[in-house]
Amino acid sequence: MKSLEAVNEFVIKFANVNGTGSASANNLFAKALFRMGLPVSPKNIFPSNIQGLPTWYEVRVSEKGYLGRRGGVDIMVSVNPQSMPQDIKEVEPGGYFIYDDTKPLDLRLIRNDVNIIGLPLTRICNEQYSDPRQRQLFKNVIYVGALAALLDMDFAVITQLVGDQFKGKEKLVLPNIHALELGHQYVKSNLDCPIGITVRTSDQVGEKILLDGNTALGLGAIYGGATVAAWYPITPSTSVVDAYEKYAKRLRIDPGTGSRNYAIVQAEDELAAMGMVIGASWNGARAFTATSGPGLSLMSEFLGLAYFAEIPTVLFDVQRAGPSTGMPTRTQQSDVLSAAYASHGDTKQVLLFPSTPKECFDMGAASFDLAERLQTPIILMTDLDLGMNDNMSEPLHWDDDRKYDRGKVLSADDLDRIERYGRYLDVDGDAICYRTYPGTHPEKGAFFTRGTSRDEYAVYTERGEEYEKNMHRLMAKWETIKQYVPKPQVIRSKQKTDTALLYYGTSEESSREAMDYLAEDGIHVNAMRVRAFPFNDEVEAFLHEHERVFIIEQNRDAQLRTLLMAEFELGPDKLKSVLCFDGTPISARNIRKQILLQMPGYNVTPLRRERVVGNGE
C-alpha cells in the first residue's frame, strides 16, 4: 500500500458524539494550526440534537490557501463507534484511520488500503480520571495531543493556545495541558511518528483572523448603528443576535447613565420580529432581524408591506437545508428565490451575498445604509457554513471618518421650506422619495403609511392609473438600486475562453479551487462572483460574453440560475448548473466532476441530471 504523503495540505475529519465537548477540542486543534501560520478551514457538521448523536468536524489544511471543501478525507479520527463503518469508508486510499483501540476494531471494517492507527483513548482516560465527565472531556484533549505527535505539530503552540483560551480560568490550564501531554507521550513512546502527513510552521496567514460569519454580522450591526434587534430563535441564525448582544453589552452602554443604547426584543415569532423591525425603521431607528428559511416564509407578508410602503428593513437570512424543517443543521443556498420575490403580488427584494466573515461585517453594516438610502428591505443571504463555522478571513476594518447614509429624510426645517409634502413624490427623478419621521413637525409632513394603494401624497386611492404609476416607479427604483448594490467580482483566465463559472456566497472558495483543477485538465475559464440582486449590468454583459456559463450553487433547483434566466431572458443552453444540496458545503472535486461531465468533448454525455447533481462527495 502506498501511504498518502503531504506537508501542510490535507483534510482531517473528526467523528464524535455530540454533547461530549469535542467541538472545543477540535477547535483547539484547528486554531493551533492557524497559529502555526497555516490556512485552515474547519467545518462543524452537527445534528439537530443536544446530546448523543454523531457529529463531525472537518478541517481543511492548505498552505496553498484553499479554504473551501476539497472532498475526500485523508485522516479520520474516529471517536464514535456508532458511525465507524461509514467513517472508515470515507478515508482516501493510502489515508489514515485513527481510532480508539481500547476495544478491538470490528474485523469486517478493516480496509487494507488505509493505515489503521490505534490509540487506547478510553483506557488512558479510565486510568487517569475517576469522574465520568472528566473522562469524556479529556478524551478529546488527549487525541489532540496524540495528533500533535503524529503530525509533528509544534507542541508549544498548542500549550500556549490553551493558556490563551482559558485566560481568567487558570485552574483549567494545567489539567488540559496534562491531557495533551498524555496523548503526545503515548504516541511518542508507542507508535511510529510522524505519519506521512505532517505540518510545518508557515507564513500563509499574515494578518488574517479566524471568525464565524454570524459574529461578524452581529458586529456589523453594532458598527452599522443598529439600535433595535428583534428576533426569534432559529438555527443557524441565533448566534447573530447573540453576538450583537454580547458586543452591545460591552460597547453600547451609555457612559453617563449606564443605560443601554440598544433594545433587543425576543419576539413571539418571526412575523412579530419582522413587524418590530418595520415599526422601528419607520420610526427612524436602525433595526434588524436574523432568521433562517422557516422564518423567512413567515416574514413574507410583512416583507411585501415593507417593499410596497417603502420602509427600510434589514434581514439577515442564514440559510439552512429546506424545504420545511429540512435538515436544520446543514447548509444550503436554497432561500434565494423565496427571498428574491418574497411576498405576494409583484415584489422584488434586494439581496446581498457575502462570502467571507469580513464581507459579513462590511455588508452587514452597509445593509443599514442601503436600506435607508433605498427605502426597501435588504435581505443579506448568508448560510450555515459561513455563519456558524470559523472561517479564515481578512481582518475587519472601520473607517472612522465614515458617516452613516441615513437616506432621504426631511427635517422640520426642510418641511418648512416645501409647499406641499408628498411621501411618494419622485422629486429627484431617481424614484426614491422623501421620508419623514413621526414627530418631526407640528403641522407638516405627517402621512399615512399603508400597504394599500395610494397616490403620491399617500392618500388612499383605488384608481388604476395611480396604482400603475406607483408600480412603475418601484421598477424605476429597481434600476436605481443596481447602482448602489455591491458589484460582482471577476477573475479572468490568462487564456482566451468562452466558458465561465458564476457563483455566489460560500461556493466561492471551492469554485476557485476547482478552476485550478480544471486548468490542469486543460479547461480554462473566467469567473464571476455575484454579490447582489438586482444583478448589476456587469452581470448581464458577462453572461453575454460567454458561450456557456456554469452557475455553481448549493440547492436542488438551480435557484440563482432561475433568477438569471428570468431577469435576462436567457436560455438553458447557455446557463449550465453545478449543484450540491446534500447539506454539506460544495467541494472543489465535486464542482470539477460536474463541469467535466458537461463539457463538450470531455465526457460520457450525462443524459440525466440526477447523475450529475447530488453525490456531494
Binding site: E207, G225, T257, V265, E268, G275, G279, N283, D400, Y437
Partner: protein, 350 residues
C-alpha cells in the same frame, strides 16, 4: 357616508392650552357606514386628545386591517399613521416604541384583528407591558369582509346573516387581566361621557392600556338577535362607576361626596377620580377585577368602565433599561465604537 360632519367650523370653537381647537385633532372624512360605532370612537379619541392638550404630531396612530383599522385616517390628521397588516399592529408598535420612547402610541384594532389573527401579538404586547393605548373597536363580527362572526361574538348571538353563533366568546378584558395587563377598561361607543375620560386615563398610564369598546356594526350586526347591537348593549351595560380625569395642569374643581370617591395620582401628576365604584370591585386588585367580570358576565350583563389599573406599572423600556434618549436620535458617536476597538477584536481572533 359618515356621521362625522364635514369640516365647517365656527371661529369661536374652544381652544385648548396649545391653542388648538378640536378640529385640529380631526382627520379625513370617514368612509365608514353611517352610524358605525367606530366613528363615534374616533370622535371620542379626538375629544380626549384635544382636552388633554396633546401635541398631535407627538402621537403615532397604528392599526391592523379592518373597518376599525381604517379609522385612524379619520382622526388626528397631523399625526403619522400606520395601517399595517392584519393582526400585526402590536409588533409594529413594539418596534416603533423601541425606536422613540417619547411619542404616544395609539393602537386601533378590531375584534377580528385582535382576537383571531392577531391574538398572538396582542397577548405578547400585554406581557411586555408595552407603553401604548390599545383600543379594540369590538363589533363581534368581521365588518370589512361582510359580517362573519368573530371570536368575540357571544354564544347564541346571531348576526344579520342569521345562524346563532355556536362558540363561546373570547372576553378581551378578562384575557388581558390574566395576562397581566396593567390597565384594563371596557366601554361602549355610544357612551362618550364614559369613554372620553377612560381614553385620557389610558393615555396617561405608563404601560399597556387596553380599552375594549363595544362598537356596533350597523350593517351586519345590529339586529335584534345580536348581543353587540346598540339596543342590547344599552340595556345590558353596567358601569363599574364613573371616571373623571383631571390632567396634571388643571385644577380640581368638581367636589365629590365623601366616601363614594377614590383618587389616584398618575405618574405624570394627573389625577383620576373614581366614584360610585361598585362595592363588588376594587379596580386596583386583579383578582377582584377578574371576579367582577365573571360575575357580570354570568348574569348576562356587560361590565363597563375602569376594570383594573396597576399604579406602579413598569413599561418595556424600564425593563430593558434603554437610554432615556430616544434610540432614533442617537448618532455615529453614540453608536459606532470605531476602528481601534475593532483592531482589538481582530487581535483576539488570531
Amino acid at each position: 357616508m359618515s356621521y362625522q360632519v364635514p369640516k365647517f367650523r365656527h371661529p369661536e370653537l374652544p381652544r385648548n392650552e396649545l391653542g388648538y381647537t378640536r378640529a385640529d385633532y380631526e382627520g379625513s372624512v370617514s368612509t365608514l357606514c353611517a352610524g358605525c360605532g367606530h366613528d363615534s370612537i374616533s370622535g371620542s379619541i379626538v375629544r380626549a386628545c384635544h382636552e388633554l392638550s396633546l401635541e398631535p404630531h407627538k402621537i403615532a396612530k397604528l392599526s391592523g386591517i379592518g373597518c376599525s383599522s381604517k379609522s385612524p385616517t379619520y382622526f388626528l390628521g397631523k399625526s403619522h399613521g400606520f395601517n399595517s397588516v392584519h393582526g400585526r399592529m402590536p409588533s409594529v408598535v413594539t418596534g416603533a416604541a423601541m425606536a422613540n420612547r417619547d411619542l404616544l402610541y395609539l393602537g386601533v384594532s378590531g375584534d377580528g384583528d385582535t382576537a383571531s389573527i392577531g391574538m398572538g401579538q396582542f397577548t405578547h404586547a400585554i406581557r411586555r407591558n408595552l407603553n401604548m393605548v390599545y383600543i379594540v373597536m369590538n363589533n363581534g363580527c368581521y365588518g370589512l369582509t361582510k359580517g362573519q362572526d368573530s371570536a368575540t361574538a357571544d354564544e347564541g348571538s346571531a348576526s344579520k346573516k342569521g345562524d346563532p353563533n355556536p362558540f363561546g366568546a373570547i372576553d378581551l378584558p378578562g384575557l388581558a387581566l390574566q395576562l397581566g395587563a396593567t390597565f384594563v377598561a371596557r366601554s361602549f361607543s355610544g357612551d362618550k361621557e364614559q369613554l372620553v375620560p377612560l381614553i385620557k386615563a389610558a393615555m396617561t398610564h405608563r404601560g399597556f392600556a387596553l380599552i375594549d369598546v363595544v362598537s356596533p356594526c350597523v350593517t351586519f350586526n345590529n339586529n335584534t338577535a345580536s348581543t353587540k347591537s346598540y339596543e342590547f348593549v344599552r340595556e345590558h351595560a353596567a358601569a363599574t362607576g364613573t371616571v373623571d380625569f383631571v390632567p396634571m395642569r388643571e385644577e380640581i374643581t368638581t367636589s365629590y361626596p365623601p366616601g363614594q370617591s377614590q383618587e389616584v395620582t398618575m405618574h405624570d401628576g394627573s389625577v383620576l377620580h373614581l366614584h360610585k365604584v361598585s362595592e363588588e370591585l376594587d379596580p386596583f386588585d386583579r383578582s377582584s377585577a377578574l371576579l367582577a367580570l365573571e360575575r357580570y358576565r354570568s348574569s348576562g350583563q356587560i361590565l363597563t368602565g375602569l376594570i383594573y389599573m396597576d399604579k406602579d406599572s413598569r413599561d418595556l423600556h424600564e425593563v430593558l433599561e434603554t437610554s432615556r434618549r430616544p434610540l432614533n436620535t442617537l448618532v455615529e458617536e453614540d453608536l459606532c465604537p470605531g476602528d481601534k476597538v475593532l483592531q482589538n477584536i481582530n487581535a483576539s481572533l488570531r
